[in-house]
């Protein structure tokens, strides 16, 4: 079995199984967690309104911190969008999903994908360096923070290299790309990357909590 056969076959299969089982395990854990009952009376009604507002309001930087965090915020936004554009709108990736679910959709031109991937990878590198060099960021970062960025970065770099036929032979690069995707799948449910699914619900919960105490969200 060649490296590519392994990557396309058992590696992706097992990684996907661990990803799905891990994700449901995490979701189940959060759902089943016993929560303390609020002991005070709600200051406001329509709690859902607070949750809903928080879900959207946090998509833009808070006015108080705007000057200090705009760059980070913008970079974060761009690379997240870039990542999903590359993941979901690249012809070859759509082909992958079609093979799995039988569904396909129109792709963006390869040049657009190439630019999106390059910008995304560049921003991630920049943010990684920033995290490692800024004293405050450094102090609040642990292994998970660095590893998660690297694990997201690897599929982008190997994907770019295999698309452009750079570095190693195409089949080796493609195998490394698929293996890096497998690593991302295995890492995601058990790391901070799990925010992919928890972010919006936790914003909602936070919004509800703030709202019932009368805090503006």
């Amino acid at each position: 079995m060649t490296l590519l056969d392994f990557a396309r076959g058992p590696a992706l299969e097992w990684a996907a199984v661990i990803f799905v089982v891990g994700l449901f395990w995490r979701i189940g854990g959060l759902i089943f967690l016993a929560r303390a009952r609020p002991l005070s009376r709600n200051r406001r009604d329509d709690l859902w309104r607070g949750g809903w507002r928080m879900v959207w309001s946090r998509f833009v930087p808070n006015r108080v911190f705007r000057d200090r965090i705009s760059l980070q915020f913008l970079a974060g936004w761009v690379w997240h969008v870039g990542f999903f554009v590359v993941l979901l709108m690249f012809e070859v990736h759509i082909l992958f999903f079609e093979g799995l679910f039988g569904l396909s959709w129109p792709a963006l031109p390869n040049t657009v994908i190439l630019v999106a991937a390059a910008v995304t990878a560049g921003l991630l590198v920049m943010l990684l360096i920033r995290r490692a060099t800024q004293p405050v960021l450094r102090a609040i970062s642990g292994f998970d923070d660095y590893a998660s960025v690297v694990v997201v970065l690897l599929p982008l770099l190997t994907g770019l290299a295999s698309y452009a036929h750079l570095g190693l032979a195409y089949e080796t690069m493609l195998a490394l790309h698929l293996l890096s995707v497998a690593l991302l799948l295995v890492w995601l449910p058990f790391s901070k990357l799990v925010h992919v699914i928890t972010m919006l619900p936790s914003r909602y919960v936070m919004g509800v909590k703030f709202w019932r105490r009368g805090v503006e969200v």
Partner: protein
């Protein structure tokens, strides 16, 4: 008085091939082998002097496609004459003799040319049961060992001899193996392909005849000059690939316009062979030019590397059923662990509450 066997140049003349054509052939062979043009006269000289070197062709678990490919030509070409000009002392399909006479011819060739003859093998060798494939009562593996012992070099022709090929594919019912798993003490050159390109075969032979050694090989034992680049890098449909223009089916507009066949499962990007350059049938065409994706037939395990029509970017083992099972397992695991966790949480809270109550009771009694 006995005459020495005719040299290659005698035989070419006898076939009405001019010296000019022969020299042109040598120049082409030199360029195919990526040798400097100055080497062409040396090849010519060496080939002309050749006195029909002995070649023993062993056919094991094979379909005779390789023999067909190499020997079939509408008009006798110089390549095929080169092939004829070796002394093919043993070949099941081609030799006139049969039965004991055929085996005797092989034994005689081996004795007369000990240490100097070339062994060409097509087909894989079954190790599962010695009776699966035999010749004159001898198992393939015994024949190979015995014949290879006195060989100067071995040429594994076709993917079956080189890497096991189709008989080696899962579940490999005969326990087939390639030549290189049995013979380890002789120079072996692999010329994979199902079948291999005739010009590659004759050029490797010409190289051996002219220089007495095999050409430079890669890590899979293939001549680098022919297998150094993948099909994709030399494919004339590559611009369509770069532009993201793909045929979606065999008869859509894209297919008619000659767009890239990646989506139809083309294995060109991972297949190392010279098809896109040398082509087939006298340079007429090659599979991709004929509208069919490359199957990757010259690569090891090509038969087991997923469907021929599945794009390279798709997973081979993963499917939606596996994912659905994983969802079920994940949900079931989460429910069990969640309920257990909740119980533990409850027990913990109750114990804490009890401790607090005990403490306050004790304080009151004090």
């Amino acid at each position: 008085m006995t005459h020495p066997p005719p040299s290659l140049s005698d035989r070419l003349r006898a076939h009405g091939i001019s010296r000019r054509s022969f020299l042109r052939y040598c120049a082409t062979t030199a360029s195919l082998l990526a040798l400097p043009p100055a080497m062409a006269p040396r090849i010519a000289q060496a080939l002309e002097a050749q006195r029909r070197p002995s070649v023993i062709w062993l056919s094991f678990q094979e379909c005779t496609g390789c023999t067909e490919s190499i020997l079939r030509s509408d008009a006798p070409s110089i390549e095929s004459l080169i092939f004829e000009s070796i002394s093919l002392d043993y070949h099941h399909t081609l030799m006139a003799a049969s039965g004991h006479a055929a085996e005797a011819a092989r034994e005689a060739a081996m004795a007369e040319n000990a240490g100097q003859y070339l062994v060409l093998v097509d087909g894989s060798i079954p190790l599962g049961n010695m009776g699966f494939s035999t010749t004159a009562g001898e198992s393939n593996v015994e024949t190979l060992r015995r014949v290879a012992a006195g060989a100067a070099a071995i040429v594994s022709i076709g993917t079956c001899a080189a890497y096991g090929g189709i008989p080696y594919a899962n579940p490999n019912p005969t326990g087939a193996v390639p030549v290189s798993e049995i013979i380890r003490d002789k120079p072996i050159v692999n010329i994979p392909g199902c079948p291999p390109i005739p010009a590659v075969m004759t050029s490797v032979l010409a190289h051996f005849l002219a220089f007495g050694e095999l050409p430079e090989l890669d890590d899979l034992g293939r001549p680098v000059v022919f297998y150094g680049q993948n099909i994709h890098d030399r494919c004339y449909r590559r611009p369509f690939y770069e532009r993201g223009e793909f045929a979606e089916s065999f008869d859509d507009e894209g297919a008619k316009k000659g767009w890239c066949l990646y989506k139809l499962g083309c294995k060109g990007p991972t297949t190392y062979n010279a098809c896109a350059v040398l082509k087939w049938n006298g340079g007429t065409s090659f599979p991709i030019e004929a509208g069919h994706p490359c199957l990757g037939c010259s690569e090891p395990n090509f038969w087991d590397a997923g469907s021929f029509y599945q794009p390279l970017s798709q997973a081979t083992d993963l499917d939606s059923r596996t994912l659905a099972l994983a969802v079920g397992a994940g949900v079931a695991g989460a429910v069990v662990a969640g309920v257990a966790g909740r119980e533990a949480q409850k027990a913990h809270h109750e114990a804490a509450a009890k401790r607090a109550a005990d403490r306050s009771k004790a304080e009151v009694s004090e």
